[in-house]
């Protein structure tokens, strides 16, 4: 039995051992409940992303869930269509996108859900990605990214963040070999925002993308609490009901 217990313990540990690897993602701040952050994120999204990337499952008027009125949406955020009930589509066709960037910019409706992996959540990936662009003159756009090497997308937020370059260090693998590894970024040219302000802006944008991945998620949580409370009560009642009948069974 002792051997069996040990075996089970080893088996339980294996998944943990298997994933001490590669891509390090920064943890995205959780702002899914923060309406001000989500509104700020929506503004950044519409201004910076929604030119090339569509969010074709998302209707503008769903932004009312973030505390905006239809008039506010119309005057501040509606650039691509004149109907507030319209979908967040873009004029650029996938064909144009492929010709201009090498790959069609993906639709962002559920991007935050699709980018999750063992390395971190979808928002973690996006948060790290949007802060990992660097200048690389060997690329057609002049930009590269440590999270998504050789990405076709240029650094759209560069005027906010500024221009940065990666600093590498030589890390020893064993006695003979060393490997060049990315260490940190160094700001070459400052942008409109300080480092902290930029991180906040990206965190808000990512929170918006996370919200847009499933606009019903807050309602899901709110409803879920009541459903679980009801079912918890039901379990107690049905448990006692069952017991009262089974008392008779000898």
């Amino acid at each position: 039995m002792n051997l069996l217990k040990k075996l089970i313990a080893v088996l339980a540990l294996l998944p943990v051992l298997a994933f001490a690897e590669e891509l390090q993602l920064d943890h995205a701040p959780d702002r899914i409940q923060d309406l001000a952050a989500l509104q700020h994120g929506a503004k950044l999204f519409v201004n910076y992303c929604l030119n090339c990337h569509s969010a074709s499952s998302m209707r503008y008027n769903r932004l009312r869930d973030l505390g905006l009125s239809e008039d506010e949406i119309k005057t501040n955020l509606l650039f691509t269509t004149d109907k507030v009930g319209g979908l967040m589509t873009v004029a650029m066709t996938p064909k144009d996108g492929k010709a201009w960037f090498g790959a069609a910019p993906p639709d962002l409706s559920v991007i935050a859900r699709s980018k999750a992996s063992e390395a971190g959540s979808g928002p973690d990936w996006l948060y790290t990605y949007m802060r990992s662009f660097y200048q690389d003159d060997s690329r057609p756009t002049g930009w590269n990214n440590t999270v998504f090497p050789n990405v076709g997308m240029p650094h759209v937020l560069w005027d906010l963040q500024g221009v940065q370059k990666p600093i590498y260090i030589d890390k020893k693998i064993d006695e003979k070999e060393t490997e060049r590894q990315f260490d940190h970024f160094e700001l070459v040219k400052p942008g409109k925002l300080s480092k902290i302000e930029y991180d906040v802006a990206v965190a808000d944008l990512v929170a918006y993308l996370q919200w847009m991945g499933e606009p019903a998620q807050q309602m899901r949580h709110q409803l879920g609490v009541w459903v679980l409370l009801f079912l918890g009560l039901l379990v107690v009642l049905t448990w006692r009901l069952n017991a009262s009948y089974w008392k008779e069974v000898k």
Binding site: A18, G213, A216, L231, V235, T238, N242, Y245
Partner: protein, 479 residues
């Protein structure tokens, strides 16, 4: 014989009169009493016996939510992905219906695996319940079909490439393979044609067969009566009223019992639906939120968790592993010839089949045998009633070491399932006398041997050892 309707007194309640009218024309009361109301079930059911009712509940959930999903879903390669997001956003409470359906699929498999484990532990498949078990295996196969066809419908990357990989497996069948997989897909790659036919199978063909099998499963069960954790035939001890002494009517006792079980299940089910519907990428895979793209193969294609034990067996069958299989086949035929009670004719048949398999190992590629082993690992369940030669049904009265056999089998099944989710080489490699071994692959090969050996060697090991004395009456402690 003339039609006679029972006469009720004039002042009988209207409901009683209505029921009497129906009963004279359709056996409504009789059906209810035969199938549930007066169906006497052993009183010593434990925790393991709840999963039958729960499976029925989940079946209903899947059908009802499925009906509502079909109202809004579009089985069209250009519209399918967006129509699922439309359900998630624009259909009122559509997200709830969709999550119930996607979580229901995984819940169905969890429940059915536990239900089958119960059958395995207490010998529920033994005589006279062979047909119940066979119908059950049929249900399991239908369920796998439902899950496979249904998984293509959201038209995400995993949907697409999962279907591509599985349909390509048929291509490994000698001679007819390539034509067969083309026929299944209806196109040279998974495409709109494939989506449409999978949709048809998912919403019409398989559910029809599934419902028929479920009805047969229940009719057969209520005909011979339920088994119980002691593996005793309760019908051997009848009371003065003609009902088994150790049984109680399902209604109200198992009605209230199942209602309790159902509420506990719904609590867990709802906790997942409302708070973690993706279940860490196992119930809804992250990659499946990327629309299907026939030009971009994902780096790692894994089926959903409930298929992975069988998928691991497929992956374990490499061309080197075929040598081990050949040794296994020779040893097994040797065992059948020298140590079985089969007649000379069947022994000859075993030798011929064994020889044919060995020739096949040389003639055909390993991938084909991977497919064969994967299929065998599911279908072999149907043989259980005839493979188990233990003199007692229940694990409770089997020799103690049998429990370890079951535990090792269970661990092998779980390890296969775990490795099937992971990319190849997840546990690194080891050097053994100049040969480089993929540790995960080697372990899944060992587990494949354990899995198949458990069933194929059962006629011998299940008969070994001294069983404990089986009591004549069930073990029951009043609550």
């Amino acid at each position: 014989m003339a039609f006679v309707e029972k006469k009720l007194p004039a002042n009988a309640p209207i409901a009683a009169k209505a029921l009497n009218w129906v009963d004279a024309r359709f056996p409504l009361t009789k059906l209810w009493n035969d199938q549930w109301g007066q169906y006497y079930a052993p009183k010593n059911f434990n925790f393991w016996y709840i999963f039958g009712s729960l499976a029925a509940l989940v079946l209903v959930i899947q059908i009802v939510t499925g009906i509502f999903l079909v109202m809004h879903y579009k089985p069209d390669a250009n519209l399918a992905f967006a129509s699922v997001e439309y359900i998630m956003r624009d259909v009122p409470m559509g997200w709830l219906v969709r999550y119930m359906h996607s979580t229901g699929a995984s819940a169905f498999f969890i429940i059915v695996y536990l239900h089958m484990t119960r059958g395995l532990l207490y010998g529920s498949y033994r005589k006279p319940r062979e047909l119940i078990w066979l119908f059950g295996v049929g249900i399991f196969l239908c369920l796998m079909g439902e899950a496979f066809f249904g998984y293509l419908l959201p038209w995400g990357q995993m949907s697409y490439w999962g279907a591509q990989v599985i349909v390509n497996l048929f291509g490994a069948i000698p001679f007819i393979g390539p034509d067969l997989s083309l026929w299944i897909r209806g196109d040279y790659v998974v495409s709109d044609a494939t989506l449409n036919r999978f949709f048809s199978f998912h919403v019409i063909a398989i559910p029809l067969v599934l419902l028929g099998l479920v009805a047969a499963h229940l009719i057969a069960l209520h005909e011979v009566g339920s088994s119980n954790p002691d593996g005793i035939e309760v019908k051997e001890n009848l009371g003065p009223d003609g009902h088994p002494l150790d049984s109680i009517p399902s209604h109200p006792y198992y009605t209230v019992h199942d209602i309790f079980g159902v509420s506990v299940f719904l609590l867990v089910f709802s906790a997942i639906i409302f708070f973690t519907p993706e279940m860490g990428g196992y119930f809804l895979e992250y990659n499946n939120f990327i629309p299907a793209d026939s030009l971009k193969t994902p780096p790692h294609i894994a089926p959903v968790w409930y298929f992975t034990p069988f998928y691991s067996i497929l992956r374990a069958t490499t061309s080197q592993f075929v040598y081990a299989l050949a040794v296994g086949v020779i040893a097994y035929v040797g065992l059948v010839v020298t140590k079985s009670r089969l007649s000379g004719f069947f022994k000859l048949v075993a030798v011929i089949i064994g020889a044919a398999i060995l020739v096949g190992f040389i003639a055909f590629e390993a991938k084909f045998f991977g497919v064969v082993l994967m299929g065998l690992s599911v279908v072999i369940l149907a043989g259980l009633p005839w493979l188990d030669h233990s003199p007692v049904k229940s694990i409770r009265y089997r020799p103690d070491w049998h429990k370890y056999v079951y535990i090792v089998f269970g661990i092998a099944f779980l390890v296969l399932g775990y490795l099937g989710v992971k990319p190849p080489g997840v546990w690194g490699s080891a050097h053994l006398g100049g040969i480089e071994l993929d540790i995960a692959q080697t372990i899944s090969q060992i587990c494949t041997f354990i899995y198949l050996g458990f069933f194929l060697l059962m006629p011998w090991w299940s008969a070994m050892g001294t069983p404990k004395t089986v009591p004549t009456r069930v073990t029951f402690h009043p609550h």
